[in-house]
């Protein structure tokens, strides 16, 4: 699988990763080599095999629909990089 500059840009955009010029070549080669390695999967007959997403094929449990004490605002404010009046601050998104 060949990954070109446009392909890398697309992945980086999807992953919200900014890439320096200095790391692009190495990353393209790295991604290509991993994809080449995993190409062995193509030769396996997986006809009628169910995909396995959980090692014990278990369904995730749902919590009881009950009110509990889940107000962690004060603790979460402590670890937020920028916060004001109980709100996370981000660059302006509406002109």
């Amino acid at each position: 699988m060949h990954i070109d500059n446009a392909g890398l840009d697309r992945l980086a955009r999807l992953a919200r990763l900014g890439l320096d010029d200095g790391e692009r070549e190495r990353l393209m080669a790295g991604i290509e080599s991993v994809l080449d390695m995993v190409s062995a999967l193509r030769n396996v007959d997986v006809n009628a095999v169910l995909p396995m997403a959980h090692p014990h094929d278990a369904q995730l449990r749902l919590r009881a629909d009950a009110v509990d004490d889940c107000d962690r605002q004060a603790a979460l404010e402590q670890i937020a990089p920028q916060m004001q009046s109980g709100l996370y601050l981000v660059p302006k998104v509406i002109e």
Binding site: A40, V44, V49, L50, P55, L60, A80, K92
Partner: protein, 477 residues
């Protein structure tokens, strides 16, 4: 002090009656840090209340891999992204060890977000192997393994997504235990690949791993994948012996990549167990060779999803003066993540993206089932499966830095266990090039007890796990 270095939990417990053993461990850890770089953070000195603790591990010092959230104590996951992250809560693993009375002396170095097999991918520098400071300790729980191998603590926590407890245990000549998926809560364990991640234990003795697992195991409603099962007594299982135990030996675990001297060490260990009454049975794991490919699709896919949470907004690294929201995301992530993490995020993004999902991710999940079915078939005729943990001994620092695929390929004997959600243990079983060799025993799901029986029986017959490295002057002080 020297009397406690390399001691087991029982000896630390006995010593705790009349000396401050936590201070002893802290002093050894500080002295060894320039050589090993095994800790990212040292915990504050224990308060006086520590001396009055009760519980199964009362007063025993240990280290947490630095991806278990510890409230009030920095938790970095080996990443610049979390270099200043102080969690507002404790992982369940941390809570249970605290309830057992154990005392965390610090947070062990690790590959960034547990991605790596050498501990060279840490934002806090490489960890060095106590047996040879020019070699890697393995990864990703390399700091945990190095601390136990250097005799600084009797046990340390780890996490195992593709071998990250067992492989560093093998490289450092200690015992590493990975439980069945769902046995130990993942709550508060910083996620890498959620369907593969499982907390584990590294100690010198299998019996000590069992003792710690007795404290950690059990249902946790806060982890949606935690499995509710009747309590078991793993320490008690250690004395069951191996009379009649059927040990499966798969030729696929001895593939061409496994060095012959490594294979010889593990075969000698199996012969010891056979003489003690175990029965060796040839088995087949025909799809094992596909496990590295399936793993390196599934694990990056899950990682790309899990690591999407690091956006510079809620916690973790935030880029300065971003002009808009997208730039804030992309620059915060670019500055916060290291090379290996970026590569895996991008691979994971690729295999999940439109047009490639079926060919890569879905197919890898189908192959995952075939691999799990191979294990299930094998376990219809045997109690445990045995083979080398790793194809070779620890390699030199920097030796494989430019060839990540060579490191991935060396995960061949460990990753399949995670794909199938099985328990497994790595035990010291010899030396090659003066470096430790690991024997891996794999159990069926929830078969921890028979693993501990076999592992402890082997450690009664051998003394490889009691061999100790001759540390440099700094580490011995």
């Amino acid at each position: 002090m020297s009397g406690l270095r390399f001691a087991d939990i029982a000896a630390w417990r006995a010593a705790a009656a009349d000396q401050d053993v936590v201070a002893v461990a802290r002093t050894m850890a500080e002295a060894a840090q320039p050589d090993l770089n095994a800790l990212i953070s040292l915990a504050p000195a224990a308060d006086a209340a520590a001396a009055t603790r009760t519980g199964a591990l009362a007063g025993i010092p240990f280290a947490h891999k630095d991806l278990f959230c510890t409230g009030g104590l920095r938790t970095t996951a080996g990443s610049r992204m979390l270099a200043d992250f102080v969690p507002p809560y404790d992982a369940t693993v941390a809570v249970r060890l605290d309830q057992a009375g154990a005392i965390c002396i610090g947070k062990a170095n690790m590959d960034e977000f547990a991605m790596g097999s050498s501990n060279e991918n840490s934002a806090f520098g490489a960890v060095r192997n106590p047996w040879d400071l020019t070699r890697v300790p393995g990864g990703s729980s390399g700091g945990s393994a190095a601390l136990v191998a250097a005799g600084i603590v009797p046990f340390a926590t780890g996490s195992d997504t593709g071998g990250s407890v067992r492989q560093p245990a093998a490289f450092c000549g200690v015992t590493g235990f990975k439980p069945s998926y769902g046995r130990v809560s993942r709550y508060g364990m910083i996620a890498f690949a959620s369907s593969l991640d499982q907390a584990g234990v590294i100690a010198r003795h299998a019996r000590d791993c069992a003792e710690v697992l007795d404290c950690l195991a059990g249902f946790d409603p806060r982890d949606a994948t935690s499995v509710e099962r009747p309590a078991e007594h793993f320490v008690g299982a250690c004395d069951r012996g191996v009379q009649g135990l059927r040990i499966g030996v798969a030729r696929q675990l001895y593939s061409a990549g496994v060095r012959s001297e490594i294979a010889d060490c593990t075969r000698a260990a199996l012969s010891e167990l056979e003489r003690a009454g175990a029965v060796l049975v040839d088995i087949e794991l025909p799809r094992l060779e596909l496990s590295v490919s399936a793993y390196y699709v599934i694990a990056p896919a899950e990682a790309s999803s899990n690591l999407a949470r690091y956006d510079g907004v809620r916690y973790g690294h935030r880029a300065e003066s971003a002009r808009d929201l997208n730039e804030l995301y992309s620059r915060s992530r670019s500055e916060g993540f290291g090379n290996e993490v970026k590569r895996r995020i991008l691979v994971g993004t690729f295999v999940l993206s439109a047009g490639y999902y079926d060919a890569y991710y879905l197919r890898a999940q189908q192959v995952r089932r075939l691999i799990a079915e191979d294990f299930a078939r094998a376990f219809s005729g045997v109690d445990v499966i045995a083979g080398p943990t790793t194809p070779d001994v620890a390699f030199g620092i920097g030796e494989k830095a430019d060839d990540p695929l060579a490191m991935y390929a060396a995960d061949i004997n460990t990753v399949a266990v995670n794909l199938a959600g099985l328990p497994a243990i790595s035990l010291p079983c010899g030396f090659v090039d003066a470096m430790p060799v690991g024997l891996q025993l794999i159990g069926p799901a929830w078969g921890e007890s028979q693993l501990f029986a076999a592992a402890h029986a082997y450690q009664q017959l051998s003394d490889w796990h009691q061999r100790t490295p001759s540390l440099t002057a700094g580490a011995q002080s």
